[in-house]
Subunit: 286 residues, 4 copies
Amino acid sequence: MGKMSSATLILSCEDRKGLVAKISQFLFQRDANIIDLDEHVDKNAKMFFIRIEWELNGQANLTDDFMNEFKKLADGINANWDIKLSEDKKRLAVFVSKYDHCLLEILWRYRNKELHADIPLIISNHPDLEPLAKQYDIPYYCFPITKENKREQEKKELELLREHNIDTIILARYMQILTPDFISEYPNNIINIHHSFLPAFIGADPYKKAYERGVKLIGATSHYVTEELDEGPIIEQDVIRISHKDSLKDLIRKGRDLERLVLARAVDLHVNNRVLQHGKKTIIFE
Amino acid sequence: MGKMSSATLILSCEDRKGLVAKISQFLFQRDANIIDLDEHVDKNAKMFFIRIEWELNGQANLTDDFMNEFKKLADGINANWDIKLSEDKKRLAVFVSKYDHCLLEILWRYRNKELHADIPLIISNHPDLEPLAKQYDIPYYCFPITKENKREQEKKELELLREHNIDTIILARYMQILTPDFISEYPNNIINIHHSFLPAFIGADPYKKAYERGVKLIGATSHYVTEELDEGPIIEQDVIRISHKDSLKDLIRKGRDLERLVLARAVDLHVNNRVLQHGKKTIIFE
Amino acid sequence: MGKMSSATLILSCEDRKGLVAKISQFLFQRDANIIDLDEHVDKNAKMFFIRIEWELNGQANLTDDFMNEFKKLADGINANWDIKLSEDKKRLAVFVSKYDHCLLEILWRYRNKELHADIPLIISNHPDLEPLAKQYDIPYYCFPITKENKREQEKKELELLREHNIDTIILARYMQILTPDFISEYPNNIINIHHSFLPAFIGADPYKKAYERGVKLIGATSHYVTEELDEGPIIEQDVIRISHKDSLKDLIRKGRDLERLVLARAVDLHVNNRVLQHGKKTIIFE
Amino acid sequence: MGKMSSATLILSCEDRKGLVAKISQFLFQRDANIIDLDEHVDKNAKMFFIRIEWELNGQANLTDDFMNEFKKLADGINANWDIKLSEDKKRLAVFVSKYDHCLLEILWRYRNKELHADIPLIISNHPDLEPLAKQYDIPYYCFPITKENKREQEKKELELLREHNIDTIILARYMQILTPDFISEYPNNIINIHHSFLPAFIGADPYKKAYERGVKLIGATSHYVTEELDEGPIIEQDVIRISHKDSLKDLIRKGRDLERLVLARAVDLHVNNRVLQHGKKTIIFE
């Protein structure tokens, strides 16, 4: 992958002629070697989306000059954009409650260096998973939540997140609904795993609902969190086959494997700058 | 498969001890050789479901005696049941509108003798697919439907179905909603294909809704028709992966392949007596 | 899709700096609007692969000037390339023997205008599928093959193909092995469907071998034909689950659905200029 | 699942009439309530396979009488069979080398009580994974293997296995080939995970071979170990899609997720007495 000496741009703007030429020319003039370019035009929405990765090399380094000049280019086309060094890592906080499977999956990939990110802390509303956090030497903070103290606890959590320069929050089966105020502090940067094939079975107890409906496949969906419950842009989803032989307990057990992998794949896409959001949708640069 | 010389029982009743022994003993005493037995107990619902296939052989032939004695056994356990010779074929009427893909799939399997059923007629509310029916030498009846004439037309359709001894109706992308009166004439024997992963995107335009929601997989669901729209017991469903690159047109195109196969598999299970219904669920004996 | 007013380039060459800029600049200077660009660098092979689609518009039309100038660019980077108008269609000859499922799938998509290609003729070594060809009004030529007459018959076939300006041959379960001489006339343009998950079960009777080995999934593989049997670059493959309950007959039946779809997807990629070959591999621009 | 008060029989024998009746009658006479019965006849091999689970209840308890009488029945039909209490657990030894993903998956399921088995020890030819074993409080024995000491070390391993009453060995990416002598001590009870879709890419470096061949899917296969390398009866296999964008490193990374889940599913089937072997095949009672 050569992550150590490359940079990545993701950018979206209104579509117009010459965008690819303009951007690739900018890089070529700075002697950059493009090693991956993926571009998408949404003709309905009249939007342009691009992800480019190039090898750093003399002038193509992310100097202030480089960044300032690119800013001019981007301003000229009214773009949303982000450039980062491939070796720079997103800083994740993982939020959990009592289920350990999603957390364990993330920590295992983290320790294996398969997850290209830092995890400075884990936050929970229950003490149960502290031993697991300890095994991986990650600080664990417990903020029990009641109706009364929710806003106050969220404030403390936000302080902690700021202190640790967290840029992305992973809800790894965190069983609390975040307040709009909290969400607005991390726009487009909170990732949830919902244990159904959204938009089927929104809200509580999706496995129970799936069991009662008699579906032949169950799913899991990882999405960005917005104010509307389970309605944010979907990053990744997958399903597995079940049958009449499966009890509700079997659904929960089989679903765990799905949840783990779907969340892990979504987090992986996010930390490698492979996701752009537009309205209720995501563009995934694989 | 040895379909020519075997018989199949499907049976459901309240669960109790000794049901397998009772039924298998009945067959053994008549010198039957069981070649396939699949049994399921739903502990929640306290229900027993079984499918048995045996080779016909002297006393195990489906004589009046055999059937009367089995009826006594079944009455004793208050069972719903059906026994049929494997070579006996269900008689299907296929209902279509303008889309040909599901009809073509069924007709192709029918002609190849892969679909173990008879198709004495095709019914449509449009004339468009008559040429396709002709290619396969199947009578095609056109009953245009308006709000005003719906009940009257359905009556004519029902007469035709009775005339042809139809026992199962396949809605192969038939774009009309049947009246409860019509449905009640074929309880548990009308199979529909819905172009979404139910219960997501119930009702009209599921691909458009899927496109707008930004899902990463689209689905198709084949189910028995009940009075509640898209709420009947699900027989089979499947999904395929899509991406942000797919336009609504692409979803429709990719979905066609799913719809065809999911409907074909569901019809196949039904005509081979491999489906039992209980409440909103199906037990599938594969 | 807007296929009516766009053009597509596919190009491969040794990797070097500035290729994307050079090519996109070329298009931008001719006022082209790039609507899709996908690029891939194989670092191991040090190769660059790109597919670009742009809207035709004044200077970006494929005039002789445009083509000559692009040829200069391409010669300068020693590239293999092809540019075609999106509305131009590849001309396919379908080769069949006795099985109809793959042919039927292709013809159905052809008639539905889902397959963006022309099919001027069908060639077979058996007369069996002539009626199906007639239903779709496509000329059917029968060349029975024996060991003795194979080269002679192939010569006649090649004449016919030349007469009809065929550029791509689809082997839709054609049960003859083509001679190297024949293959060399259509380098990189003969597509086969093999009824196994290659490289498992190369050669004859893959379902029988799969049955005997007791695999839990069976597959189908569509690939370009080279002199080495079943060793050409793979375009598409897929699998389905089977179980111990499936007889050899069931494998063949289930496999048919796979073969049809895998071949159809591969042909679709090929006719839309979405495949580049390099050594034993393909780059697929989806 | 009600595992605490049930028993399970798996049995295979030559097929003949009345086997289901004979066995179910035996249970019924002892007042057993059959809660799951799955039966399969392989007509080619003329073999009968059955798995029955029943609730323990007075006479149906696995007393010496019960077992002796069932032995008579089984001897009369010349059957291979096994009866066990559902709460009885198989005793597993996990063999590993340096890769931790398969071991971690098994240990996680073990600790969650999702894996219905005991794991008294882990054996390795390298010290690397001892810390992981410690986290889960499982004794870890290291037997470095050279060409010279292989038989000697295997003897020590076998002693240890006997001491701990091990009945099943899991090769969780164990990078040594066991000698035939070792294998013969655990006939039908050694489970391996091979990182390819067998029989494709038998032997060493399957991901490298898959990468070079340019396949579009990679697989993993869990099978019983026999003297012939990678040729034992397959329990479970699965695949995932890859593309030309994936480097060899990506294949290895994606393959890890497959290997973990495929091995875990195979072990789960084995420990719950859901697998019967016959020749090179398995019958899986799901």
